[in-house]
């Protein structure tokens, strides 16, 4: 009898192991956010430093900044699947992970509604939730096909970002922030360059922003709203005079994930307040 029990338990144990879900490491907060929206986070065993986790999962190991993970660090979490955006890396680590037999799937990193749709659908396919993913991407697809009209006032918006105290950066064209401003029907007050550049007092005044857009973390790094208003040159801008600022949570504003349509609508309504 005891023997039979042992055999049964052994069989059950092995069955449990073979049915155990694949172990997934997510590299990129947008990937983690998408997995959460797809209710596919049970298989997560580690995430990158930028991912935001629910309270129950907040103890998951962090493998570092997703562009600079280490092969051994990722392997130490014994993943079957590493799911990240194309920005995840560095490239030699991705190569080494694949050589070690890990399935590495990198989805597009494009910061646009179209990119978000592709990303969500591809992630859904990889975790076996195609239908949910299609449903999740549907509003984004519709918005991409029917963008909102340009706001009648078309306010000029300046996106400011800072990682540490001092030296804030401004967003030029072709950034996630610039795309969000465009999607919300407003105008980016800086058009002279691509990507981010350090803020200078003169270019700030010259760009004549009517609204300042910042993220929660960015605002904190710049010393709160007072810090923003005391930036050199700020008091000579329309936004500085009227103290018009919109603060949105970092990943909500810039992730281009499942919540992006909401983020666009929220940005639009707050710009017209």
């Amino acid at each position: 009898m005891v023997k039979i029990k042992i055999v049964l338990i052994t069989i059950l144990l092995f069955a449990g192991i073979s049915y155990a879900e694949t172990r997934v490491v997510s590299l990129g907060s947008v990937v983690t956010e998408t997995l959460q929206a797809l209710d596919a986070t049970d298989s997560l065993v580690a995430v990158d430093a930028s991912s935001e986790l629910s309270d129950e999962q907040s103890s998951l190991p962090r493998v570092g900044y997703y562009r600079m993970v280490s092969t051994e660090g990722v392997l130490s979490t014994r993943p079957d699947l590493v799911l990240g955006t194309e920005d995840a890396g560095p490239p030699h680590v991705i190569k080494q992970l694949r050589q070690a037999g890990v399935d590495v799937e990198l989805v597009t990193a494009e910061k646009s509604l179209e990119g978000a749709v592709t990303r969500i659908v591809d992630i859904g396919k990889k975790v076996g939730k195609q239908e949910q993913a299609l449903a999740l991407a549907q509003p984004l697809k519709e918005r991409a096909e029917n963008p909102v009209e340009v706001l009648p006032s078309a306010p000029k918006v300046l996106f400011l970002y800072a990682r540490g105290a001092g030296a804030p950066m401004v967003s030029g064209t072709k950034t996630g922030a610039a795309e969000m401003i465009r999607l919300a029907g407003a105008e980016n007050s800086v058009a002279g360059f691509e990507g981010y550049r350090p803020l200078t007092a003169e270019s700030l005044v010259a760009s004549k922003p009517e609204v300042i857009l910042v993220t929660t973390n960015g605002l904190e790094a710049m010393g709160g709203k007072d810090g923003v208003w005391s930036l050199p040159g700020m008091s000579h801008t329309p936004a500085g005079k009227e103290k018009k600022i919109v603060v949105m949570e970092d990943t909500f504003l810039l992730n281009f994930g499942p919540r992006t349509v909401d983020a666009v609508d929220q940005l639009r309504s707050r710009l017209t307040e």
Binding site: A49, R62, G64, S70, G73, H92
Partner: protein, 343 residues
């Protein structure tokens, strides 16, 4: 002195022993837990030519082993580069960075990173960054050397000043490049300059070993001239040293070793300064012990520091240049204070 020295002094057997122990320790450090017995098994299987195909085997054999190997080569190369420079400048605070080597390599790597998009595909080959950084290091050191070489005589003071000038110029040019770089390039440049031992695979490491070994041997052969140089160039010349030839060889060796290492690893600070210095404190100033002992201490220190990088914030990883600078800078300050007290 010679008569009372034992036939096999401490360093001839103690350091090799410690070296093997430290490599073993470094191999066992890392985010991926591999018990010691398991480690022995994997190594034994690989030794017998039947490496296992489990994850632990591939972590140990294809990741850690090459990092320990490259770390040992790089540590030895940087330490000996420091020994050469300190003998050349007759100053224990000299460092290969003084001759503009690291900044030249960093500038070349940054320039390539930024122009990579507009270059033909050959140029963005994985070897492109190391090769360019290597040439950049050789070029700036060559420049410093040329300018301070007047009529076949190298003037050490003008070499030092020229090195400072070249460093400042490279720093400024890197600043310009950072200004025009986009986000991704900025990140790549920063990551490169932090340094890592993880970028080198088995083949590249073998090549590096082949390229570095002759330089190690040459430095060992220069031990007597280096000792005599310590008492000044005029005295050394009167004792039969080819002073100018020795100086040229020292610059050449140091530049060759450090450029090769930095090209693959990125910037790893303070090993070239601190390791020879510690060695001198323990074993005395004679290059007969200083050369082999620095080589071994360097080959010991860097793999261990890298082991720390892999474990401290596991499963994330610290850049090696940061760890060596964090460990090296306090020591450097201590040295400066001690020198001040003595004076």
């Amino acid at each position: 002195m010679r008569a009372i020295e034992p036939r096999f002094p401490l360093w001839t057997w103690g350091l090799p022993l410690l070296l093997v122990v430290s490599w073993g320790m470094s191999l066992s450090l890392g985010a991926f837990k591999i018990p010691p017995l398991e480690m022995v098994r994997i190594l034994w299987e690989a030794f017998r030519g039947q490496p296992g195909d489990d994850v632990a085997s591939s972590v140990l054999l294809s990741l850690r082993l090459s990092r320990v190997g490259f770390g040992a080569l790089a540590g030895a190369g940087l330490a000996l580069g420091g020994v050469c420079m300190q003998a050349l400048f007759r100053n224990p605070l000299a460092d290969p960075g003084l001759m503009g080597l690291s900044s030249g390599a960093a500038l070349a790597a940054a320039a390539l990173t930024i122009s990579a998009g507009s270059l033909p595909e050959v140029m963005v080959h994985p070897l492109a960054i190391p090769a360019t950084a290597f040439l950049g290091g050789l070029f700036t050191t060559g420049l410093v050397y040329r300018v301070s070489n007047r009529g076949g005589r190298i003037r050490v003071e003008s070499m030092l000043l020229m090195g400072i000038a070249v460093n400042a110029l490279c720093g400024a040019l890197i600043g310009v490049l950072l200004l025009v770089a986009d986000d991704a390039q900025l990140r790549n440049i920063t990551f490169w300059s932090f340094g890592s031992l993880g970028r080198v695979g088995g083949t590249a490491m073998a090549g590096l070993g082949v390229a570095l070994l002759p330089a190690f041997v040459l430095v060992w052969m220069l031990r007597h001239p280096m000792n005599l140089l310590l008492s000044g160039e005029a005295d050394a010349a009167s004792l039969g040293v080819h002073v100018e030839r020795t100086k040229a060889l020292l610059v050449g060796c140091s530049c060759w070793m450090v450029s090769l290492v930095v090209a693959w690893s990125g910037l790893i600070g303070f090993v070239g300064l601190v390791i020879p210095h510690i060695t001198r404190l323990i074993f005395g100033p004679s290059h007969r012990t200083l050369v082999p002992a620095s080589l071994m201490l360097g080959a010991m220190f860097l793999p261990l520091a890298d082991g720390l990088c892999r474990t401290v914030i596991a499963p994330a990883e610290l850049p090696i240049g940061m760890v060596t600078a964090l460990m090296g800078t306090p020591f450097f300050i201590y040295l400066l204070i001690r020198r001040g007290v003595r004076a």
